[in-house]
Amino acid sequence: MLDDIIALKKEIATQSITNQKELEDFRLEFLSRNGSVQSMFKNLGSVPKEERASIGKEMNEVKKLAQKRFDEAKINLESSVQSSTSALDDLTLTAPNTPIGSLHPLTKTLEEMKQIFYRLGFTIADGPEVEDDFHNFTALNFPPNHPARDEQDTFFVRKSDDPDISDLVLRTHTSPVQIRLMENTKPPIRSIMPGRVYRNEAVSPKSYFLFHQVEALYIDENVSVADLKETLITFVKLMYGSDVKYRLRPGFFPFTEPSLEMDIWWGSEKDGKWLEILGSGMVDPNVFISTGVDPEKYTGFAWGMGVERIAILKYGIDDIRTFYENDIRFLEQFN
């Protein structure tokens, strides 16, 4: 008897249940009213009384095992049944696309710069893109015959022989906003001027007839080249990481004296090179005079850089025209 029970237990334990049919077969074979487990219990009556308790216990174990196997197999089969019953219950199907909003890489770069300047205590100033000769050139110490005043370099919007009507140009830099600030604000002034500027140039991968600049201006009673250095260094460290390698060298701009340019080391130690990233200097006394600021009392620094250039370096973009084509495949890389 015991041998039969053990054989049945083994049979139950090893029975394969991999689909619904086998599950039903298992139920019929072992658990139904006429199944082998019930049949087994029918034999209990013929067991000698003294063995009945232990045999009964064994039989109960067999019954429990059969029920356990059935329950487990049923749960397993149900979960697999569910995923194959409906085509739409497939979790691996693709989700519908939802449109994603994004800022243009130039805005992103500009935002990053603004945040840095904000931390350095600069506010933001704004001015028109169509400017008069005074704000764009004269007040900025451009001599009357300076090449930048040539038609080859600057878009003119209005030219007039009447001295009361000023010539208008598309601003060639955001420096006119500095002039407007100096005209309207008493120092100290600590502000940046972001904006769109224009140059009458042929379009190529390296140049476009419009681009964006950010300039910074700080005027107070004792602002020096050393202070300029401090902000420049802080800026490049925040923009390019604290291990950025930089150098300052003399430059030339009509509106600053002395003038300086800043280079950063770009690329590896061995194969990299110095790249010019911004121009700067101490506000030229003539600029102060033309805006009614006393150059003996106040000194100041100014600096400027191109947003496109910074973005090109940051993202490794090889053609400046890409910024203005607005190809979605380009834009969606800046989500």
């Binding site: 739409l88 693709t94 519908p96 696309n97 449109p99 909003g101 994004s102 800022l103 243009h104 805005t107 935002e111 350095l120 205590g121 506010t123 933001i124 704004d126 001015g127 028109p128 893109e129 169509v130 400017e131 038609e151 878009f155 003119f156 919007v157 009507i165 000023s166 208008l168 600590r190 769109r196 224009y198 009458n200 140039e201 007839f209 419009l210 020096s224 080249v225 050393a226 202070d227 250095k229 401090e230 300052l248 060298r249 003399p250 430059g251 030339f252 004296e257 002395p258 300086l260 340019e261 101490m282 030229d284 006394p285 000194t299 910024f323 203005y324 607005n326 190809d327 979605i328 834009l331």
Partner: protein, 802 residues
């Protein structure tokens, strides 16, 4: 400007390598743009001995040579007829580079090769292959006493140099010559400057028999120096002179012209040599004309010169355009025997103007228009004359003619210690400052511990103010050495301006509404611009480089349509764009400059598929109402939604806040779609950011409204009306009649069809009523509905639908 490293070494003891020199130049303001190696040092080319030659088994013209290189003997395949055993020859060993330019611009580097099946370990070279001459008839056979293995650069004096191309800023005309660059280096490195010695001739105003010189336009030509040189033998220049010019990329011409170029690059003074015997009347007159002059320059070009152009004339008329280019007729030729050498100072503005109108920039005009030293003319003429005499065997007149109607005197400047340190942020003493700029040839006139007065040489026209001197101290001190303070983060009480915050918020909101930002051109073509209104009301550019940039955009719509078409042409199925930028128009209501109104606009535009083809839904195209819902969301984010109203005008929905017109929403017309090759419908809303800014100022202070305690009562009804009646008008009427318990109106169904008759439509409204003090029931709402329906029936002939 190209600077020769070897030439610089004639003026200063340079303790730096060529690349270190370039770095130093950059750090003192003469920025290196490129370093060019001139000539080849022929590293790896050595003396070899041909031990044996045998015929190449597979090629009649080639020989197999066994060549002793000193530490090894190798086989080299050689094609020259004159190769023979026993010869000492130059051998380019494997790995060496020869001055032979390949198609890709690189130079030939020798590799171990097989020529027709035979190994060749290098190359036996001809003269031209080493850049040592033009001979290519056979290999070079060397002196047989030379030791095998000797580097060839120890056998020949190779013409090699390093050329540093530097960017000259407009304020530094003194550095357009080697002496000037050397002077800056000598000051920066604190080494002595050795100037070329020039024996000066006594000046006279006139040499009666030879030549007379007259200046009729002294403002344009403040000084003209002439030097007579007789009996020159015009021929090729000596090698040293040719090499100097070749290294700078100049083509040697003859010994006289080459000397004038040499002295220009040495001292910065452009010189011109006239064939004396071609000067009519033995007379030089410097003058301009008040009419246009046609003149043939020595580049065989007939040029029309505008009135005011300065000329060098003889008795018959112009023989050179002053400071720009000489004439064909009086040019030095092989048959020239006597020369008048010109060394003049011309007004920079005059030369700049001529060079520009003629679009002719020469080495001479480049220097004149920047402003050369007005006191170097006699020195340069004597320097050139003595070199010509030395090289050609010519004889020189003792005197020099020096017509100098306007003198240039050196300026005197005072440098104050206080201002210097205040501007640079340094703590220099006056003596330290003088030490730093020592070498620039400033003469100390007086000094004490607080200031120094200096006389500035006339070759530095850029130094006219104290601040200019401070820059000299700063650049030679090295800005990198100035210690930056460490104030840390600067704390400002000011925040970004309201405007800045608004612009940021608009962009951020548009992104949240799933729009992608675009940047488009603000200059468009006139043809494109006419799509958006009358060209007369737009702002144009007077001198655009191309017709594509004639007009400043009057609206952001062009940019959106162009970007949309661009993407649809590249298989995009949907766009959802926004742009924030300035637009321009001519207006009496101007902003910054009389007549011109410049405003900032925000455009949101959508086109194409809202849902692309997908298993979960059918493809659906965007509709105007998708954009309208985004716009409502935007107004909600801005806090404007409560006061927004809209009216239909010219097929657009014009939005206002109180009385401020904000902008309009519309479908892009079929005509515009055709122009931009757009096949899909497109919808845009363009708002004035300036108007939004004004509107925001009118928003009443926000007051919290308590959450209603009682439920709302909803009532649905539908009316049938004529198609021409707009839902907006119906809603306005409903609102005006429903009283203050009306909370909201929604349109939940719009229907047209035969069942309701042609030309009519059915609109179903859901009205929500709320009373803060009680629960409303049908008894209270019914009279309101009746009143509303009655008014609709009366005003619009609406019929209530059963």
């Amino acid at each position: 400007m190209k600077v020769s490293y070897n030439w610089l070494k004639e003026f200063i003891e340079l303790p730096l390598s060529p690349s270190e020199t370039a770095d130093k130049l950059t750090l003192i303001g003469l920025e290196e743009e490129e370093i060019i190696e001139y000539g080849s040092k022929l590293d790896g080319v050595i003396v070899g001995e041909v031990l044996e030659t045998t015929q190449h088994p597979n090629a009649d013209r080639l020989k197999l040579c066994q060549v002793n290189l000193g530490n090894e003997t190798v086989q080299i395949v050689c094609g020259a007829n004159n190769v023979a055993a026993g010869q000492k020859v130059p051998v380019a060993t494997v790995g060496s580079t020869l001055p032979i330019k390949l198609d890709d611009g690189s130079f030939l580097t020798l590799r171990k090769a097989k020529l027709r099946g035979e190994v060749s370990n290098g190359m036996i070279c001809a003269e031209d292959e080493l850049g040592l001459g033009n001979d290519h008839d056979g290999i070079m056979v060397l002196d047989e006493t030379l030791k095998v293995g000797t580097p060839i650069n120890q056998v020949f004096d190779l013409n090699t140099d390093t050329i540093i191309d530097i960017a000259i800023t407009p304020n530094r005309p003194d550095t357009t010559c080697h002496l000037g660059v050397a002077r800056d280096l000598s000051a920066a490195l604190n080494v002595e400057l050795k100037k070329p010695t020039v024996k000066l001739s006594p000046n006279v105003v006139q040499i009666s028999d030879d030549i007379s010189i007259e200046i009729e336009s002294p403002e344009k030509c403040p000084r003209y120096v002439g030097k007579m040189i007789r009996n020159v033998d015009i021929k090729e220049s000596p090698t040293w002179l040719k090499n100097r010019l070749l290294a700078l990329g100049l083509r040697p011409v003859n010994n006289v012209v080459d000397v004038t170029n040499y002295v220009m690059h040495e001292l910065g003074q452009p010189l011109h040599a006239f064939d004396y015997d071609e000067i009519n009347g033995k007379k030089i007159i410097v003058k301009d004309f008040d009419k246009e002059i046609e003149f043939e320059t020595l580049d065989h070009t007939k040029r029309k010169c505008t009135p005011g152009t300065l000329f060098i004339c003889d008795a018959n008329g112009p023989i050179a355009i002053a400071g720009v280019m000489g004439g064909l007729h009086s040019e030095v030729s092989d048959s020239t025997t006597n020369i008048l050498l010109e060394s003049a100072y011309f007004d920079p503005g005059t030369i700049r103007k001529t060079a520009k109108t003629q679009t002719l920039q020469t080495d001479a005009s480049y220097r004149f228009e920047r402003g050369i030293d007005p006191n170097i003319q006699a020195i340069a003429a004597d320097r050139a004359a003595s070199l010509i005499a030395e090289i050609t065997g010519a004889s020189l007149n003792r005197e020099i003619i020096d017509i100098h109607p306007i003198q240039s005197n050196p300026v005197e400047l005072t440098l104050r210690k206080s201002y210097l340190n205040r501007l640079l942020g340094t703590t220099l003493t006056i003596n330290e400052a003088i030490e730093i700029i020592d070498g620039l040839e400033f003469e100390v006139l007086s000094k004490d511990e607080n200031e120094v007065t200096l006389r500035i040489p006339t070759f530095r026209p850029d130094l006219v103010r104290e601040v200019d001197l401070i820059e000299e101290v700063g650049r030679l001190y090295d800005y990198n050495k100035i210690e930056a303070p460490n104030h840390g983060i600067f704390v400002s009480t000011e925040t970004f301006s309201e405007w800045e915050l608004l612009v940021s918020k608009l962009k951020k909101s548009a992104v949240e509404l799933s729009f992608k930002e675009i940047y488009t051109n603000s200059l468009i073509s006139e043809k494109e611009a006419t799509q958006f209104g009358s060209i007369d009301s737009m702002v144009g550019t007077l001198n655009p480089l191309t017709k594509d940039m004639t007009t400043l955009r009057p609206s952001l719509l062009h940019g959106f349509l162009k970007a949309t078409a661009y993407n649809f042409n590249r298989k995009a199925s949907s766009v959802r764009f926004f742009e924030l930028g300035n637009v321009f128009e001519q207006s009496e209501d101007w902003t910054f400059h009389k007549g011109i109104k410049e405003q900032t606009h925000l455009l949101l535009g959508i086109s194409g598929l809202k849902n692309t083809e997908h298993w979960s839904s059918k493809p659906i195209s965007y509709s105007l109402f998708d954009l309208k819902s985004s716009l409502n969301e935007l107004f909600t984010k801005l806090g404007l939604i409560e006061g927004i109203s809209s009216i239909i005008k010219d097929e657009a929905l014009v939005y206002s806040y109180k009385n401020i017109v904000l902008g309009e929403l519309k479908s892009v017309s079929n005509k515009l779609k055709r122009t931009y090759d757009l096949e899909t419908d497109a919808f845009v809303v363009e708002l004035s950011v300036n108007a939004i800014e004004s509107a925001l100022k009118k928003i009443p202070q926000q007051v919290y409204k308590s959450i209603p305690k009682f439920p709302a009562f909803e009532f649905d009804f539908a009316v049938i009306i004529e198609n021409s009646v707009s839902a907006g008008d119906l809603m306005t009427t409903i609102k005006s009649k429903a009283g203050k318990t009306l909370q909201s109106i929604e349109i939940f169904d719009v229907f047209e069809g035969e069942s309701i008759g042609k030309g009519s439509k059915s609109i179903a409204f859901r009205l929500q009523f709320l009373d803060p003090n009680k629960t409303l029931n049908i008894k209270e709402v019914e009279p309101i509905i009746n009143r509303v329906v009655k008014t609709l029936e009366k005003q619009y002939s609406a019929k209530l639908r059963g």
